[in-house]
């Protein structure tokens, strides 16, 4: 049994009771989200434990995990930076922002710094077009970003995580 799933079990039991009867299959997304929030990614043992508990085929979890872009099957950096580069954000400088962040941290898009502190990824439209460009830092929106703001943010986070930040 996965420690993470075991520790979340009381919460999962409460959630299961809130769904109408016959909705066990619906538990996959919310449970995986919580597991990921705790562990940072979803591990094999989590899938095993959830599949067994909900009596659902393991393949359903694999399908879900490989379909939705927010799920991670592998550990990533301590700080996750996601930059939207869809139409409205690109029109407000997202491409320059992404280039700057990658250069400053010395990573390619999708990469993690060698010290394991930062992971930089791109995102598609996040519904923040009026406050573009948007960068999501560990699931929180930082809007109307520019190079100055992103530098301050990286400095602060690098400091908080005890490193130099690239």
């Amino acid at each position: 049994m996965s420690d993470v799933v075991a520790s979340l079990m009381p919460e999962f039991e409460r959630l299961r009771r809130r769904f109408p009867e016959g909705f066990d299959s619906s538990m996959t997304l919310p449970c995986l989200r919580r597991v990921q929030e705790v562990r940072g990614h979803v591990a094999d043992e989590d899938i095993q434990a959830l599949a067994q508990w909900l009596d659902l085929p393991r393949i359903q979890f694999d399908e879900v995990l490989s379909y939705y872009t927010q799920f991670r099957r592998r550990p990533v950096g301590q700080v996750r930076l996601e930059i939207c580069r869809n139409v409205s954000c690109s029109m407000r400088g997202a491409e320059r922002l992404l280039g700057h962040v990658c250069k400053r941290l010395g990573v390619e898009e999708g990469g993690t710094t060698v010290d394991g502190r930062f992971t930089v990824t791109t995102a598609e439209c996040l519904g923040s077009c009026g406050t573009a460009p948007v960068m999501v830092v560990d699931d929180e929106y930082h809007e109307s970003m520019d190079i100055e703001k992103v530098d301050r943010l990286i400095d602060a986070r690098a400091h908080a995580e005890g490193g130099r930040g690239g």
Partner: protein, 443 residues
């Protein structure tokens, strides 16, 4: 709001249904929402109306879907047989993912009780015990706001068991997505709530016949639903007095791009387009000239500055002009923007988001994406443009959901109006506008 005030506002063409109050740090909370009259319509519906009367009122109002397809809400509701002995479900579509669209987020963050109240009224009309809000997984702040509103409503006895002591029971639960554009399509959304991949489903059967877990289900956009409380409170006639006879009510327009004051604006249907851009939004960024506008999310066809010159924001005018008001996600594009690069951004997005079920979309999106990348790399050929048009047309109507069609419309729209920019890049090996997507201050 008294009837006379409503009519007076209508005459001014400035009626507001959703954005009726100044947003402050506390204006989303229950106490302030109630001071503005929230939950009076719920009280009215539960105490003085039958479910059928509520449904009839909404049908009579002519309310149309605000997610993009503009399907009459009443006609969707009418399919539900409220006494057929099986559970029915109601889902608010808060997956807002059409690029350029951020209007539902305004409601979720600033007026969540308007959605909760409206959903409860809709649930009463459709005799729904369990309702869901399907919210895109990236929306952290909107999730907290709506969950906060639900918690407040539960604590006040406005939701759950025996609502307002009337014996009506309804629970609303937020179901969070996990990153998928296609899940904004109603049937894909239901597949996702069932805990599976967000694959769209073939119709028939319609979702109102076999939807969530094969039970009759109504899926309405957040903005669509949020109008319901107002309609019940003021009546269908008052709603029809707003907007145009064919398209009553207001629209939330989220405007972004090269615009001085981007944001969400509530306009009456029929509002002059240029007034929105030049008066309300302060014109273009740095005083630039307008090149073109994407009217309602990137899946609607681009219209040039000349084309919108005299248009009003009314489907009856935008559709004959060859586009659509779609989801209200408007993008204003300044002169000097490279349309080749803009289409490249769009096609990368569509390719990334294709769910892969249908061959024309799965293969077509990748093909279009590779063609545009080749053009931008300077390796394009003139017949690539005909190929892109051909692929776009092949997708139209040949996929389960509308995404294949939409990507094709976006491509054909830009190719038709800005073909010379593509030809220039192919012939000269570089952009007519230095590949520019931004609108910089001219020095």
């Amino acid at each position: 709001m008294p009837r006379e005030a409503v009519v007076a506002e209508v005459r001014e063409r400035d009626a507001k249904i959703l954005m009726t109050f100044p947003v402050t740090a506390t204006s989303h909370l229950l106490a302030e929402a109630r001071a503005r009259g929230a939950y009076a319509a719920l009280e009215k519906a539960l105490r003085t109306m039958t479910p059928q009367q509520v449904a009839k009122e909404v049908t009579a109002s002519g309310l149309q879907g605000r997610g993009g397809a503009a399907f009459p809400a009443g006609r969707k509701w009418a399919v539900i047989q409220y006494d057929d002995g099986q559970p029915h479900y109601l889902c608010a579509n808060a997956d807002e993912g059409e690029p350029g669209t951020f209007k539902d987020r305004w409601i979720l963050e600033n007026s969540p009780h308007q959605l909760v109240e409206s959903m409860l009224i809709a649930a009463y009309a459709l005799q729904v015990r369990h309702a869901f809000v399907y919210m895109r997984g990236e929306f952290s702040a909107p999730f907290r706001r709506l969950q906060g509103a639900l918690d407040e409503a539960y604590a006040a006895g406005l939701i759950g068991e025996n609502i307002l002591g009337t014996g009506f029971n309804c629970d609303i639960m937020i179901y969070r997505g996990a990153g998928s554009y296609v899940c904004g399509e109603a049937s894909a959304l239901l597949s996702s709530i069932e805990g599976k991949r967000g694959y769209p489903r073939n119709r028939p059967p319609r979702l109102t016949v076999k939807g969530l877990y094969q039970r009759p289900t109504v899926v309405n956009n957040v903005e669509t639903l949020s109008n319901v409380a107002w309609i019940v409170q003021h009546g269908a006639e008052a709603f029809k007095a707003v907007g145009t006879p064919k398209c009553p009510g207001t629209r939330l327009i989220s405007i972004s791009g090269h615009i001085a004051r981007p944001g969400v604006y509530e306009i009456e249907v029929g509002y002059p387009w240029k007034r929105l851009i030049y008066d309300d939004c302060g014109g273009m960024l740095h005083g630039a000239a307008l090149k073109c506008v994407i009217p309602g999310g990137i899946s609607t066809k681009v219209l040039t500055a000349a084309e919108i010159e005299t248009l009003n924001l009314d489907p009856a005018e935008v559709e004959p002009a060859g586009s659509s008001m779609g989801s209200g996600g408007m993008v204003a594009i300044a002169e000097g923007t490279c349309m080749v690069r803009l289409l490249q951004v769009m096609l990368r997005f569509y390719h990334h988001e294709s769910c892969g079920q249908c061959t024309p979309c799965r293969e077509g999106m990748g093909w279009l994406h590779r063609l545009i990348d080749r053009i931008v790399d300077g390796q394009g050929r003139l017949d690539d443009l005909d190929m892109m048009a051909r692929i776009s047309r092949l997708q139209d109507g040949n996929t389960i959901c509308g995404m294949g069609d939409a990507a094709g419309y976006a491509t054909l729209g830009i190719l038709a109006k800005y073909r010379h920019e593509f030809e220039h890049w192919i012939r000269e090996g570089r952009s007519m506008h230095e590949g520019n997507l931004e609108c910089r201050r001219s020095s």
